[in-house]
């Protein structure tokens, strides 16, 4: 009985969505962005979202992030009458797998995932296989604050245009960590890292590709070692992969004997590097969140002598996003929550290293009222570099390079 009733409610919600949806179909792609919170299209979505439950599938490996999402869920409930459930997953690919299972079973509505935290390869794969629905970012009032110009990665995810299929949530730039109590002069370039490792065997590690951080290290090294980085911006099959990557493999062949555990064992996940640095097993770590070090110091995961730096010539940067699967059950609710997470209020809190420390995707100069001042006044923590110190971010290579690099790495070192 109860099940039936829930089924009915879902059906009604779906019917309502169809009825209320302006135009619908791919016509929307060309549709103009909403003018603001008062736009009737947005009002209809907010109306429809009230009372919905949004299942937000997101990595659950960090207390700080979990706490932040819990806060955001509470705010969404207050502001929009929305129930948000954080489904904490170990790896977002598990969620891709579930959406795929639903598609395999022919479920094109009423799916179990409403909103998911995603980027890069997973986004590309979902998009390629039609697991994402229609473009939606033009419907979000807060999207107009996004810094799409100075931060191009907010609309180009690993070289692939997002086309409105995912909404930027936060920024990432590769920074290196070291403990000033143990290391006075950390290596500031990829070639310098090789010499440093030879002088300090066993004191550097990178996670095993295809771990995200591990693959990132490969790309960072490749960009530094390749003759013409421009070739990396085009798909890999337009280049001579062997010739282009030969310097990288030569580099890794030389580096590996001097890695942590002699290069026989690799950390399995990026965050493990923080623990290894704290344990004194390694002296140089890296992370994709420029504020991670400050946040980890604040929470007691790292000593307060840890500092961060970037490599000469810049480090890789990208954004992470929120996407809505094609069969989301509470699409309206997902839109509303995605918009809230993009709002200045949510973005400011997210950037606070005492809370999470994830850089914003918003452009300060586009913000209304006193938000700009509040963003500028936010203390970023002792180990966080200023925007100037972070230098010029490097663009991610075309995603096909990452896949090819991972496969070749696996062939050379993973077996």
């Amino acid at each position: 009985m109860d099940l039936q009733r829930r089924g009915l409610v879902r059906w009604l919600a779906a019917a309502l969505a169809l009825a209320l949806w302006p135009q619908g179909g791919f016509a929307q792609q060309a549709d103009s962005p909403v003018t603001g919170p008062d736009d009737p299209r947005w009002q209809a979505i907010v109306q429809q979202a009230r009372g919905q439950t949004v299942y937000f599938n997101a990595w659950g490996g960090s207390d700080r992030i979990n706490d932040y999402i819990a806060w955001a869920a509470g705010r969404a409930e207050d502001l929009y009458g929305l129930a948000v459930v954080h489904v904490r997953v170990g790896d977002i690919s598990e969620v891709v797998s579930r959406v795929l299972a639903e598609r395999t079973a022919g479920r094109s509505a009423g799916g179990s995932v409403d909103l998911m935290w995603i980027n890069g390869e997973n986004f590309a794969a979902m998009r390629e296989n039609g697991l994402l629905g229609e473009p939606f970012t033009h419907l979000l009032p807060s999207f107009r604050y996004v810094d799409t110009e100075a931060r191009p990665t907010t609309v180009v995810d690993f070289g692939v245009p997002t086309d409105g299929l995912e909404s930027p949530w936060g920024m990432a730039q590769l920074v290196f960590l070291y403990d000033t109590a143990r290391t006075s002069e950390p290596p500031r370039s990829i070639p310098a890292l090789l010499d440093w490792a030879a002088a300090h065997p066993g004191r550097f590690a990178y996670p095993q590709p295809p771990d995200f951080h591990g693959s990132t290290f490969l790309k960072q090294a490749l960009i530094a070692l390749v003759d013409d980085p421009a070739v990396l911006q085009r798909p890999v099959d337009e280049a001579d992969f062997a010739a282009v990557t030969a310097p990288l493999w030569g580099y890794l062949d030389a580096l590996h004997p001097n890695l942590w555990r002699g290069g026989a064992v690799f950390p399995q996940a990026g965050p493990q590097l923080i623990g290894l640095l704290d344990d004194g097993e390694i002296d140089i770590a890296f992370n994709f969140n420029p504020s991670e070090a400050s946040a980890a110091i604040a929470s007691g995961q790292l000593p307060d002598t840890v500092r961060t730096y970037v490599l000469e010539g810049g480090t890789l940067a990208n954004s992470h996003f929120l996407a809505i699967p094609f069969n989301a059950n509470a699409r309206a609710g997902a839109l509303v929550f995605a918009d809230f997470l993009l709002s200045p209020e949510a973005q400011l809190r997210k950037m606070d290293p005492q809370v999470w420390g994830d850089p914003t995707v918003l452009a300060y100069d586009r913000l209304p009222g006193d938000w700009r001042v509040r963003f500028q006044a936010l203390p970023l923590g002792i180990a966080t570099l200023s925007a100037d110190d972070l230098g010029t971010p490097l663009m991610e290579p075309h995603p096909s390079w990452m896949t090819a690099l991972e496969a070749e790495w696996q062939r050379r070192y993973g077996s």
Binding site: L3, G7, Y55, N57, W59, G60, G61, S62, D63, D67, A70, V85, V87, R88, V89, G90, S93, E94, S97, R98, L100, A101, E102, R103, T104, A105, R107, S112, V113, G120, E121, N122, A124, A125, N129, P201, G202, Q208, P210, W260, R261, G262, A264, V265, F266, Q268, P271, I274, G275, L276, D279, E281, G300, Q301, P303, Q410, R411, Y413, G414, S415
Partner: protein, 579 residues
Amino acid sequence: MAAPLRELRNGAPARRGWLALVPWATLAVFLGPVVLGLIGTLLPAFGILPALGGTGLTLTAWERLAAAPGLAGSLWLSVSTGVASTLLSLAIALAVLAAGYGTRPFAWVERLLAPLLAIPHAALALGLAFLLAASGWGVRLLHGLGGLAGADVFALPPLHAPLQDPDGIALTLGLVVKETPFLVLMGLAGLGQVNAARSLAAARALGYGRMTAWAKVVLPQLYPQIRLPLYAVLAFSLSVVDMALILGPGTPPPLAVQVLRWFNDPDLSLRFVASAGACLQLALVVGLIGLWRLAEMAAARLLRPWLTSGRRGTSGVLGRTAGVLGWAAVAGTSAAGMLAMAVWSVARRWRFPDLLPGELTLDTWARGLALLAGPLGATVLVAALASAIAVALSLGCLEYEDRAGIRPSTRALWLLYTPLLVPQIAFLFGIQVLLVLLRLDGTLAALVWSHLLFVLPYVFLTLSDPWRALDRRYARAALCLGVRPRTVFWRVKLPMLLRPILFAAAVGIAVSVAQYLPTLFAGAGRYATLTTEAVGQAAGGDRRTIGVAAVAQMAVPLLGFALALALPALAFRRRRGVA
């Protein structure tokens, strides 16, 4: 269980009523979905997965699998760690049973059994990892000892550590620590069936030393009793994922981990390779169980003359010592690992090479409990339901056996163990699709059912031996007093078997709590359990929160075992005769 297979040939004995349906229902609940799940894995292996555009039969997936770098290494790693850990667990379990069974100190072995069984795999692996790591407790202890002796050893963590080693020694150790208690439990139950004490006494009266008497007289009777559980251990060790991720090497990883990587790869075309790999994993398990069986038969033939050679053997001090030390190592390692997790959960700063945290805090617990309250409820609910249903079905099947006067055929038992023998990754994706098709994904029913697949075999394993060991004449005496079979069941069998029944229920709870992949696949994110939380936390690498999750994850089964032991003791505190 599954008695109908044999029963139909015998003609129908009177008086079973609806009970006759229980074995059938148990089988249906069980095997149908597993078979469908396997089909759901088999088809993609041969190129059929319409959602990804696979519509025609091809062998591409197999070609890609064969060409996958490191496949041979992965296979070898799975085989070597799986077989070595199974042999070692079996040896320790048999040695400790031989050395201790029936002696007074053996009470300690039995007492430790429940808490050891309560430790979930993932928690144990995480604890063990901290003991073995280059900056772990082991090295810190050596540093501390060195300091006492005035030597500065390991001022920095050493370059090498026995963790995630390419040969899989750490993984093997972890598996041994986890599986030995289970084999001891199964051995104990089996010994109740074969009347070991009398056989042993008879052989020793003929002048045989304890260990020799055990090997020649008890072991041949006991082995058939623990064969199936042993195969389950072998299958588990060959296809373990969670422990392998934490303790095992990555270059290459064991086959099961590699298959999971393919399943989770952003490149969805690897799904086809993953399916082929899952089939290979299944073939590996089936093949090795077959080889193990052949080895058993060869060993039985070769050792036959030795049984009757008349050699009495010596006192077997060596074997006994090995058994005691092995058990002590297993129990000690588990305890140290869980202690490490507990200490981490209250640590704020705990740096190398400190033996204990420099700063303590309860913050991690405060945040953890707020976060874990929901998952805790779901964990308890699912575990209680799955365990209760498993106990009810097992009791129904066993009571049906009694009333119909039949024993299940070995074939039927094999069916029951299918979910334990078939690698989880080989059928869970298929089952996920099935659940979505039936619109059951993310429901409590689906979640409980998916746990039941793994809980039921263990509960049945744990319960059937004590049930069958109950003197059947009690039931006959009761019937001849004019009491109906139903009353006999409720008022004689259940109370007399209360302790094993509750113990089996506790085992069921422990198994349910430890399930990760089934929860993920059937729960559709609607249900988070302590285990999904623990794995999620582990991804973040913060040992303090991992510590909280691990301790919380262990607390539920531990409480289950505590109740299982306390309730009968309380209920029958004035009845000395209740075993």
